[in-house]
Every structure is written in C-alpha cells, then in structure tokens.
Symmetry: C2
Subunit: 148 residues, 2 copies
DNA sequence: GCATATTACTTGCGTACGCAATTAATGTGT
DNA sequence: ACACATTAATTGCGTACGCAAGTAATATGC
C-alpha cells in the first residue's frame, strides 16, 4: 500500500507536468489564453451566475488572492470578464464572465476536450479512461468546487 | 470517451494542485527542502551513478536548464550535491548526489511515502491505489525518465 | 451602539521561473 | 584539417507568483 501510494503520487506529479506543457502550448497557440487563464474562465463558466468572488476563485484555482486580482486585469481589458460589486456587501467584487468571455471559454473548452481526447486516443479503452477519471475524482471528492 | 477524457484531465490538474500544496507544506516543515528540491534529489538518487547532467535533470523535472543551474547552487552550498565535470566532454557538468545529500533524500523519501500513504488511508483499498498508480504509469509510459 | 475582530481586496516587495543571448566545447561535412 | 552546426551550461532580463502589510467594509461581543 505504502509503495503503490508513493508511486501513484509521483506518477501523478509527472503526468501533470507533461500535460501542463502540452496544454499550455496548444491553448496558447489557438486562443490568446494560457492554461491558467483558460481554467480561470472555465471556473466562472460553471459557477451559478457565471461569477465568483476573487477569494472563491483563488481557492478553486489554488492560487493566491493577489494573483486572481492581477490575472483579472488583462482579461477585463480584453472584455472577457467584468467587475461586479455586490450591493449587499461592498467588500465583494465579483469576477463575472461577459458574453465575449463566454464565447471564448466555450471555444477554449472545445480545444481542451480535443486535446484531452488525443491524450488517451492510443492504447486506452473508454473504460480505462473512465476508471482514471473516477479514481481522480475520488481523490478530489473531499473538497469544494471541483471543476466539471 | 471525449467526456471522460476531459474529466480525467481536469481532475488530474485539480488533484495535483491540492497534493502540491500539501506536500510542499509538510516537506518544507520537516526538512529544509521544498517539494521541487526533494524531487530534484530523488531523481539523482535513482540515476545510474547518482548523477545527471543539468539538461537531463531539466527534462526529467520539466523545468528549464537555467532553473536547474540556479537550483543547484544553494544545494551545493549545503553540501547535498556536488559539481562533477566529465573528463570526456568538458561541456558536461554533472550534478552528483553527495553522501550528505543521500542521507537527506532518503529521509525526505520516507516523509514523502508517509504523506502519500496518508492521502489514501481513508476510503481507498489497496487495489484501488494500485489501479490508480498503474493508470497514471500508463499515462507516463511513452516518455523517458519516470521516477521510481 | 461601540470597540474589536474578521473578511475581501489591493499593492509593495522579494523570489523563482522561462526565454533568449552568450560562451565554450564537441560533432559533422567536405 | 577547417568551417559550420549543434550541444551544455550560464547569465541578463522580463514576468508571474506568494506573502505580508495596508485599506475598507462587515460581523461579533459586550
């Protein structure tokens, strides 16, 4: 158990590093977005009102609140997201997905899906991919805000 | 297939982010090492002569060669690694694990193993962990230099 | 209802990283 | 053997990040 646990974790780190390289390159090439930005927008897309507070986004993306603030600035200028203050609580500044952002992220998601399919295209059965998705889902199941 | 592929990838990214946080904190607390440094040394430990060239390390760790150069400096000063020129090829400067480094990394690996076991301790059977390790191993199988 | 604690967000600062240019050494073609 | 390409490593530079401090607003305790 100890042995396979360690192996699983190390393989997971290794796999993530490879996939990040691959997805970063491909996403950056097609859209103007990096992988980080794409995940940022995807989290907004699946949120209740297509919006999240900055701290909430930070938790979901596992980055600091200051990074969320700074990431949002260029995307605001591009019109992908907008700042939306909360009338009830003046401290809150939601990041909300615009129509433009909606279109872009839908497109990015399609690219994402295509890339994901390619990863498993050779040497993987549908059942195996599903099994992997399930197991990784279990690994994340004791937390909030897992994406899609 | 497309659907579960996307889910698998997204879950993998999510899982990695959480595990990185957890392992970074715990490793940094026990030894003086960060997660990155621990993986750095673990790659050396399992290498043929406990040594690797900088470019080789960079490929295995999925970081740039310049980062390897810069990471090595403080670890050299701590005596964990040493610089070892190649007599055949004066361009090569191996990073080699010292005795001290060997001891530290063995210790770090034990901590790593303990943490990994904790991750799966609740709600996971040995078979499931093994299955996850296998599937992730498959995902990495078309590349060189996978760790342990 | 007022003082204090907590929360959301921003900003300054230091650090870590990748890219591209540089240097030095080895490989290749003729 | 010599010119040129390739490779390993380092360094300058710009960028992205986290942490901690600062600011403003809301929540809590008395």
């Amino acid at each position: 158990m100890t042995q396979s646990s360690l192996t699983a974790i190390l393989h997971l780190f290794q796999a993530q590093a490879r996939l990040e390289e691959r997805f970063s390159g491909a996403l950056g090439g097609v859209h103007g977005l990096g992988l980080k930005e794409a995940l940022f927008l995807m989290h907004l897309q699946q949120a209740p009102l297509r919006r999240l507070t900055r701290v909430d986004l930070a938790k979901r993306l596992h980055i600091s609140a200051s990074t969320v603030t700074r990431m949002a600035v260029p995307m605001e200028k591009l019109g992908l997201v907008a700042r939306q203050p909360d009338p009830r609580d003046a401290r809150l500044a939601y990041v909300v997905l615009t129509e433009t952002g909606q279109a872009i992220v839908t497109d990015a998601r399609a690219t994402f899906e295509r890339l994901a399919t390619e990863v498993f295209r050779d040497r993987w059965t549908e059942q195996e991919v599903g099994q992997l998705a399930d197991l990784l889902g279990r690994l994340n199941s004791n937390q909030i805000g897992v994406l899609a």
